[in-house]
C-alpha cells in the first residue's frame, strides 16, 4: 500500500513534469501576445486558434504513435489530399454522406496499412517507405482530379466544420475527442503498451512474444486513418477538396510531436504533449499575424522555436538522468 502512495506521486512528476514544461511555454507565449496585442486574448480569437490547430493536431496524433515506435511518416500530408479528393468526388457522385465519410477514412487507413506492410514485411526503413507513399498518394490525387479542386458540398457535410455545440466549433470537439481516445489508447490498451515497447526496444518486444509486425502495421494504419479524418474536416471547412492540400503537413505534425516532448528515438512521448505542441505552433502563427509580422519572418520564428524547444527538452532530460 505504501508502495502505491509513492507510485502515485512519482507518476505525477515523472509523467507530467515534461508536459508542464511545454505547457508553461505555451502559457508564456499567450501572456506575451496578450501584452503585445489587445486582439489576441479574446474568446473569438482563441476559438479561432483552436480551429486553426485542429487539422495539424489530428494528423499529429497519428504521427505521435508512429514516432513512439521509433518510426516516421512523411506521407500523411499527401494521404490527406488523396483521401479528401476521393471522398469529395464520391459526394459529387451522389454517394450517401456516411458512406463517403467512411470512404475518406478508409482511403487513409489503406495508405497507412500499405506503409506499414512495406516497413514490416518489406523491411524498408520508414523514412523511405513513407517518402515513396508521399509521392504516390500526391500523384494519384492529382491524376484522379486532373489537378482541379472538387468544390461545393451539402450543408450537412459542411456543418462538420461550421457547426458548433455550446458555442464550441465542431472540429474542436472532434479534436478533443480524438485526443481523449488516443490518450486512453496509449495508456490503457495493449496497442498503446506495445507501441511504447516496440519503440523502446524492438528486439526485447519480439522476445516478449509481441507480434511486432502486426502492431507496427496497425500504428501506420492509424496514422493514415487520422490523415483521412483531417481530410474530412479540411474539405468541409474549405467547401473544397484540393489535390494539393496538406502540403508540408507532415513536417508541421512532426514539429508538434517533437515540441511536445516525444523522442525521435522512440519509446517515449504523450499525445497531451503533442496537443500542446500543436497549440504552440497555432498560437505563434496567429500572434505573428496579429502583430503584422511578414510570413517570411514567421517561418524563421517557427523554425527557431522548434529548435529551441527541443534543445530545452534535451537539456531537461539530461538533468533528469
Amino acid at each position: 500500500m505504501c508502495l502505491r502512495g509513492i507510485a502515485l506521486r512519482e507518476n505525477f512528476f515523472s509523467h507530467y513534469g515534461r508536459q508542464l514544461g511545454t505547457l508553461s511555454g505555451l502559457l508564456g507565449l499567450v501572456v506575451a501576445l496578450w501584452a503585445l496585442t489587445p486582439h489576441f486574448l479574446t474568446v473569438s480569437n482563441l476559438l479561432n486558434i483552436a480551429e486553426q490547430a485542429t487539422i495539424i493536431a489530428i494528423v499529429a496524433v497519428g504521427m505521435t504513435f508512429v514516432i513512439i515506435t521509433a518510426g516516421i511518416d512523411l506521407s500523411v500530408g499527401s494521404v490527406l489530399a488523396f483521401a479528401g479528393v476521393v471522398m469529395a468526388s464520391a459526394l459529387h457522385q451522389g454517394v450517401p454522406l456516411p458512406v463517403a465519410l467512411l470512404g475518406g477514412l478508409g482511403i487513409g487507413l489503406l495508405c497507412g496499412l500499405v506503409n506499414g506492410l512495406l516497413i514490416t514485411i518489406g523491411r524498408l526503413p520508414p523514412f523511405i517507405a513513407t517518402l515513396g507513399m508521399m509521392s504516390v498518394a500526391r500523384g494519384t490525387a492529382l491524376m484522379f482530379t486532373e489537378g482541379r479542386p472538387v468544390s461545393g458540398f451539402s450543408e450537412a457535410f459542411r456543418s462538420l466544420a461550421t457547426g458548433e455545440v455550446l458555442y464550441i466549433p465542431t472540429p474542436v470537439i472532434i479534436m478533443i475527442a480524438v485526443y481523449a481516445v488516443a490518450h486512453l489508447v496509449l495508456k490503457r490498451t495493449k496497442l498503446g503498451r506495445y507501441t511504447y515497447a516496440i519503440g523502446g526496444n524492438e528486439e526485447a518486444a519480439l522476445l516478449s512474444g509481441i507480434n511486432v509486425k502486426l502492431y507496427k502495421t496497425m500504428v501506420y494504419g492509424l496514422a493514415g486513418m487520422l490523415a483521412g479524418l483531417a481530410a474530412i474536416l479540411l474539405t468541409a471547412r474549405l467547401n473544397s477538396a484540393q489535390p494539393i492540400a496538406g502540403m508540408n503537413y507532415e513536417l508541421d505534425a512532426i514539429a508538434a510531436t517533437v515540441i511536445g516532448g516525444t523522442s525521435l528515438l522512440g519509446g517515449e512521448g504523450t499525445v497531451l504533449g503533442t496537443l500542446i505542441g500543436a497549440l504552440i505552433m497555432a498560437v505563434l502563427r496567429n500572434g505573428l499575424n496579429l502583430l503584422g509580422v511578414s510570413s517570411f519572418i514567421q517561418q524563421i520564428v517557427i523554425g527557431s522555436v522548434i529548435i529551441v524547444a527541443v534543445l530545452i527538452d534535451m537539456a531537461l532530460k539530461r538533468r533528469g538522468k
Binding site: L3, N201, A204, L207, G209, I210
Partner: protein, 496 residues
C-alpha cells in the same frame, strides 16, 4: 634467441569498481617468440592485454619495454611504442581497398592535400610481400575472406613498425587450411624478430605454434612454462584448479516428470543433431566455449531460429515452435544473455516490463485492467525483493541485479514452466549473484525446469543437476553433477 626480454609486465594489478580483475600478474616476452596466454573465460587474459594495448590503465605494477619502464597512455601510444593488437573484430573499413586500409589515417599526400594513391599501393604491396602474401592491394576489403582480412590487419600492424603483436583468438573464425596459412605467416614474423602474445582456447594450437605459455587463473598468474615441458592435462589442471566455494547455494529439488524432450534438432543457426531431455525441478547446465552453439540452442527452442530437422516435445506432445509467442504459450521463458539490448525495454517502467509478455492476462478486448496489472507487478516486486522506488520507475535506472529480477518476474508472470537462462549472472555483483542462485532454487523447488547456459565453469558445476557440453553445434558430453569435473568438461569443450 634467449637474450634480454623485449617486454616485461610485472606485478600488474587492475581493479574495477568492486572487482579485482588482475592481482600481481606478470610475464616476460622474448624477442621472436610466440607466447601463449592460457586461462578460462574471466581469468584476466583480455584485461591484461587491454592494459598492454593501452585500452585500459593499470591500477598498479610496471611495464618494462626494452629495459625501460613505460606508461602506456592509450592505444595510439601503444602503437608508437611498437605494440599492435589484432582484435577478434577487425577494425577495417569494408568499402575501402586493402592498401587504403593499411594506411588509414596516415595517407601519403601530394600537393593540395590530394592522396597519393600510387604511393599507397606500392607501400602496401611491399608490406604484403614482406609477409609472403600475394594479395592485390586494390581489392576492396569487403571482398576478402576473413583470413585475408586478418592478414591485412597484420600487414597494417607491421607497417606501423610493430615489434610486439597481440593476437586475441586469431583462429576463432578460420578454416583449417586458413589456420595453416596464418601459422606460416606467424613463423615469418618470428623470423623477423617480432614477438607475439597469443590468446587461444585451442590446446592443439598451443603445441603447434607456441614457444612458452603463461597460465592465468582468477586474475593471478600461476606460472610460465616451456610449451613442451607440460602435457595437455597438466595445463588444464593448472587453468582450473579451484574448489567450489559456498558461492553456490545449490539446493537439489525433487526431479519430476519430463517436461522437454529435444530429438535430433538441427537448425540454420548451426545446431547439429541435438537430443536431450529436461525434467521438472531440474537445472540442466550447458557448458561450452564461445561459438559452441549454446545460445543458438536457446534461440531454437524459443522459436527464433528456423529448425531444419528434429522435434521438440513439451510435456510429451510435439510442438511447432515458430515464434517467441508460440514458445511463451508452450510455457517457455528466455532470459537472454544481454539484458539491456534483448531482455528489457529500458525507457519503460518496471511495471510495464514485468507484464510485457503476459498483457493478455490483464486485458480484455485489448483494454488493460491497469489496477490488476499494478497489483500483479507489486506482488512480484515484493516477492523477489526488487529494489525500486516505485513500479513506475524506468528500468534503465535499476541496478544490474534488479534488472535481472525484473526479467525473471516477466517470465514468472507469464507462468513459464521452462526457464532458459543465458549467462544469468553476467555483469552482476557477487551479492546479487547469490540472490539469483537462490531464486533458481525456489524456481526448481516449485517444479520449474531450468536450462542454464554459462561460460563460467564453476557456475555450471555449482548450480546444475546435469551438465551438457557443446562444441561446434553438437553435444559432445553429458555428465551428472556428481561425475562432472572441470577437467572433464573442458576436455569435451575443447575437443579431443
Amino acid at each position: 634467441m634467449a637474450d634480454a626480454p623485449v617486454l616485461e609486465m610485472r606485478h600488474i594489478r587492475k581493479t574495477f569498481p568492486g572487482v579485482v580483475a588482475l592481482d600481481d600478474v606478470g610475464f616476460e616476452l622474448r624477442r621472436g617468440e610466440v607466447h601463449i596466454l592460457l586461462g578460462e573465460n574471466g581469468a584476466g587474459k583480455s584485461t591484461l592485454m587491454k592494459i598492454l594495448s593501452g585500452a585500459y590503465q593499470k591500477s598498479a605494477g610496471e611495464i618494462i619495454l626494452d629495459g625501460a619502464e613505460v606508461e602506456i597512455k592509450n592505444p595510439k601510444h601503444a602503437q608508437t611504442l611498437g605494440i599492435s593488437t589484432i582484435y577478434q573484430e577487425f577494425n577495417l573499413i569494408p568499402h575501402l581497398s586493402v592498401g587504403e586500409n593499411i594506411f588509414l589515417g596516415r595517407e601519403p599526400v601530394r600537393l593540395l592535400g590530394l592522396i597519393d594513391q600510387r604511393a599507397i599501393f606500392q607501400a602496401a604491396t611491399r608490406a604484403l610481400n614482406g609477409l609472403g602474401l600475394t594479395l592485390n592491394p586494390r581489392k576492396l576489403v569487403k571482398e576478402l575472406r576473413v583470413a585475408e582480412q586478418q592478414m591485412v590487419e597484420v600487414a597494417k600492424a607491421l607497417s606501423l613498425d610493430a615489434r610486439i603483436l597481440i593476437m586475441d583468438e586469431p583462429t576463432a573464425a578460420l578454416t583449417e587450411h586458413e589456420i595453416k596459412e596464418l601459422f606460416a605467416t606467424i613463423r615469418t614474423l618470428k623470423a623477423k624478430g617480432v614477438s607475439i602474445v597469443y590468446i587461444s582456447h585451442r590446446m592443439e594450437e598451443l603445441f603447434e605454434i607456441g614457444d612458452r605459455v603463461t597460465v592465468l587463473r582468477d586474475g593471478c598468474s600461476i606460472g610460465t612454462y616451456d610449451v613442451h615441458a607440460k602435457s595437455r592435462s597438466e595445463l588444464i589442471r593448472l587453468m582450473v584448479n579451484r574448489e567450489l566455494t559456498d558461492l553456490f547455494p545449490k539446493e537439489r529439488a525433487v526431479r519430476g516428470p519430463e517436461v522437454v524432450r529435444v530429438k535430433g534438432l538441427s537448425t540454420k543457426g548451426g545446431l547439429k543433431d541435438i537430443s536431450f531431455t529436461l525434467h521438472k525441478g531440474e537445472v540442466l547446465g550447458i557448458a561450452g566455449l564461445l561459438g559452441a552453439g549454446r545460445t543458438e540452442l536457446a534461440r531454437a527452442i524459443f522459436g527464433l531460429d528456423k529448425i531444419t530437422s528434429g522435434t521438440i516435445y513439451i510435456n510429451g506432445a510435439p510442438q511447432r515452435i515458430g515464434s517467441p509467442r508460440a514458445a511463451i504459450n508452450s510455457g517457455i521463458g528466455f532470459l537472454t544473455e544481454d539484458r539491456k539490448s534483448q531482455g528489457l525495454v529500458l525507457p519503460l517502467s518496471v511495471k510495464a516490463n514485468l507484464c510485457l509478455s503476459s498483457i493478455d492476462k490483464f486485458s480484455r478486448w485489448g483494454i488493460m485492467d491497469t489496477k490488476e496489472e499494478q497489483q500483479a507487478a507489486g506482488r512480484y516486486v515484493n516477492e523477489l525483493r526488487i529494489r525500486t522506488p516505485s513500479l513506475d520507475q524506468k528500468v534503465v535506472f535499476l541496478s544490474g541485479g534488479n534488472q535481472q529480477k525484473v526479467v525473471l518476474s516477466k517470465w514468472l508472470c507469464s507462468q513459464a514452466e521452462v526457464f532458459i537462462f543465458d549467462e544469468p549472472t553476467r555483469g552482476i555483483d557477487v551479492g546479487a549473484k547469490t540472490e539469483i542462485y537462490q531464486l533458481m532454487n525456489r524456481l526448481t523447488a516449485s517444479g520449474v525446469a531450468i536450462i542454464m547456459i554459462s561460460s563460467e565453469l564453476l557456475e555450471v558445476l555449482g548450480m546444475s543437476d546435469r551438465i551438457l557440453v557443446m562444441r561446434g553445434g553438437r553435444i559432445t558430453g553429458e555428465f551428472s553433477a556428481e561425475d562432472a569435473t572441470q577437467e572433464k568438461i573442458l576436455q569435451c569443450a575443447l575437443g579431443e
